[in-house]
Amino acid sequence: MSDPNKKYDDKLRPHVYDGIQEYDNHLPNWWLWSFYGAIIFSVIYWFSFYDAEIMKSDTDIVDAQMAEVEEIRLAAIGDINSDALWQMSRNPGFVESGQVIYMEKCAACHGPDLKAGGGLAGVNLVDAEWIWGNQPMSIYDVVTNGSPDKTKGMQSWVAELGPKKVSQVVAYVLSYHTEEGMAEATTLNTPVGL
């Protein structure tokens, strides 16, 4: 320590690259400790993530959230039956919401007057003939899961609309019918959704 030049020589590392040399100064302690901390953290993290299952993996988190979505969906369906749909179809607020959805999504095929025809792709929704069942729950099922006949182009709407909007749009269609009238209508195939 008495000779400052000697210390200087010791600190200078022998290697030279392109004329550049470096000193062997002590790294800042805060830097070292953050580095040691990162090593310790990585071990704990690795252990808790992959071995101890203390932390949930991404797959578990997604699965849990999907289960939650499914639970809410099932709960909503549980409340829905033909009687409930009839009640909704007599509620102006419900029918109005359903109309907005209908005009945006359904009118392209079933027509703004629900009669289809004139080259439109869909089926008439206000006549006395139902292809997949004359019960409200059958209509609900077709909107939710799509037409059982996959060549017709009626897609499953539940992913886009969710159960609540599906029931609103079904209520809008039912608002053109009466319970008695529907019961007398013909059904062409085995009814679905019952």
Binding site: C106, A107, C109, G153
Partner: protein, 469 residues
């Protein structure tokens, strides 16, 4: 033993002791023109930082990066997530501006505008000075044993630091959730908004730790800008520099042989990163000009001309004039205008509305007794501040087959900042179908008159299959 100011050397960093522990730098106060203008600049910048979320423009804060709704309001201009590509101009623009300014003025950003310097020198260190006194007093307090005076001074200082760090963190969050939302969240339980609460808590802690303890270490060890310095500056770049020709050799004021530097070490005492500017340009130098003020004050006292330490380029120090116009700055200026032109063109091409077409889930096409049918979903986004109606049609020109469409007959009206997903069905009569063909869907938005055109493919079976029966 009280820590004395360390003698800076080019071999190591002053703020790190030989054993790796921190050496706390207590810079003395320098008074002067640069100090005054830096303070004005800093207060203005802090004012801008605090005020931007409060100023409403077109119904939204001047800057509101609404990450929840994915809408970005910038000075009355609203961008959606779909406009994210414009971020290219922001990122490359900021980087280029740094290059451009550095070519002329060196690390002017560090000393005058960087939040690290602005908050540290003009807020935190001012409070520290106010409570603990000037540099020698602060050193004394560091060395003193923990008596009542030290305890209350430190308590007061750290409490104020935490409060201010909290304010900075809250203002930062306000840029992303807006002031009213922030105010509301602050009145609700932390459990209601865990994410935001943890963020503000962690940010407050990080800001507090940074400005209380970490300080110049960020500039010296972490910030890449200082490391770029060696590549970004050249012989004509202005730096805070010591005029070695005039100053050397340092000596007593009465020594006729000595240069103008009287070796008073005032420039070393005021340096916030602990360097001796007389040893030349170093990466620790943040260009804060404190040593310029300090030296000018001394030069006035010894009645020698100011500017022994000043903003000067290497060429200037060698006795020549700084060349402002040189190939590099000409090239940079050209690139700057090119960048501004391209960014301006890109910004003006951003529409207030967005429309996208996708094929509906299910089969790619349907064949009925009369028609071949393709089903599309058209997603329209209204970024404008008024209701917008979208009309959709197929461009007829150039089509060889008759086409029938349904959906969007009466248009779809979308409220501001909302989006809709509507069904659009395209049909071709069976006998007219001659095979798949591309066609254009045109989406018109009123008011505004924006027209968005999307090319899609009409798909169908081999036409021979349809004509067989």
């Amino acid at each position: 033993m009280m820590a004395q100011p360390r003698k800076p050397s080019l071999d190591s960093v002053t703020s790190i002791n030989e054993d790796g522990s921190r050496f706390i730098i207590h810079p003395a106060d320098a008074q002067g023109n640069f100090k005054r203008w830096r303070r004005v600049t800093a207060l203005m910048l802090i004012g801008i930082y605090i005020l931007l979320p409060w100023i409403p423009i077109n119904g939204y804060p001047a800057i509101f990066l609404d990450v929840i709704e994915r809408r970005f309001h910038l000075f009355g201009f609203t961008l959606a997530a779909q406009d994210m590509w414009l971020l290219f101009f922001l990122v490359s623009g900021v980087a280029f501006t740094l290059f451009y300014i550095t070519a002329f003025l060196g690390r002017i950003w560090c000393g005058w505008a960087c939040p690290q310097t602005v908050f540290l020198e003009h807020v935190y260190r001012r409070i520290e000075r106010w409570i603990e006194g000037d540099a020698p007093k602060r050193r004394q307090l560091d060395a003193a044993s923990w008596d009542g005076t030290k305890l209350w001074k430190r308590l007061l200082k750290h409490s104020l630091f935490i409060v201010i760090s909290g304010l900075i963190a809250h203002m930062f969050l306000a840029y992303f959730i807006s002031i009213p939302q922030l105010w509301q969240w602050m009145h609700e339980a932390p459990t209601e908004h865990w994410g935001a609460f943890v963020f503000v808590f962690a940010a407050t802690f990080a800001i507090y730790l940074n400005y209380t303890w970490f300080r110049e270490q960020l500039c010296i060890v972490i910030c890449p800008y200082g490391r770029f310095q060696s590549a970004l500056i050249d012989d004509d770049t202005l730096n805070v520099a010591y005029d070695y020709q005039r100053g050397n050799p340092p000596g007593h004021v009465k020594d006729q042989e000595a240069g103008d530097c009287i070796d008073c070490k005032r420039c070393v005492q005021v340096c916030p990163t602990g360097i001796d500017i007389r040893q030349g340009l170093q990466l620790e130098c943040i260009g804060c000009a404190a040593c310029i003020d300090a030296c000018d004050e001394i030069m006035d006292k010894v009645e020698r001309p100011r500017g022994l330490i000043r903003y000067a380029s290497d060429r200037n120090l060698e006795g020549h004039a700084t060349r402002w116009i040189r190939p590099r700055t000409i090239l940079y200026t050209g690139l700057l205008f090119l960048g501004i032109a391209v960014a301006g063109f890109a910004l003006t091409s951003v529409e207030n509305v967005v429309a996208m077409t996708t094929r509906m889930p299910g089969a790619p096409f349907y064949v009925t007794d009369t028609h071949v049918r393709n089903q599309f979903q058209i997603r329209v986004v209204n970024k404008a501040t008024v209701d917008t109606t979208f009309n959709v049609m197929v461009q007829a020109s150039g089509l060889t087959v008759p086409i029938e469409t349904s959906g969007f007959e009466n248009g779809v009206t979308v409220t501001p900042m909302d989006e809709r997903n509507g069904t659009f069905v395209v049909q071709v009569p069976r006998e007219a179908f001659e095979g798949s063909f591309p066609f254009l869907i045109e989406i018109e938005a009123e008011p505004g008159g924006a027209r968005i055109i999307r090319e899609v493919e009409f798909l169908g079976p081999d036409p021979r299959l349809l004509k067989g029966d």
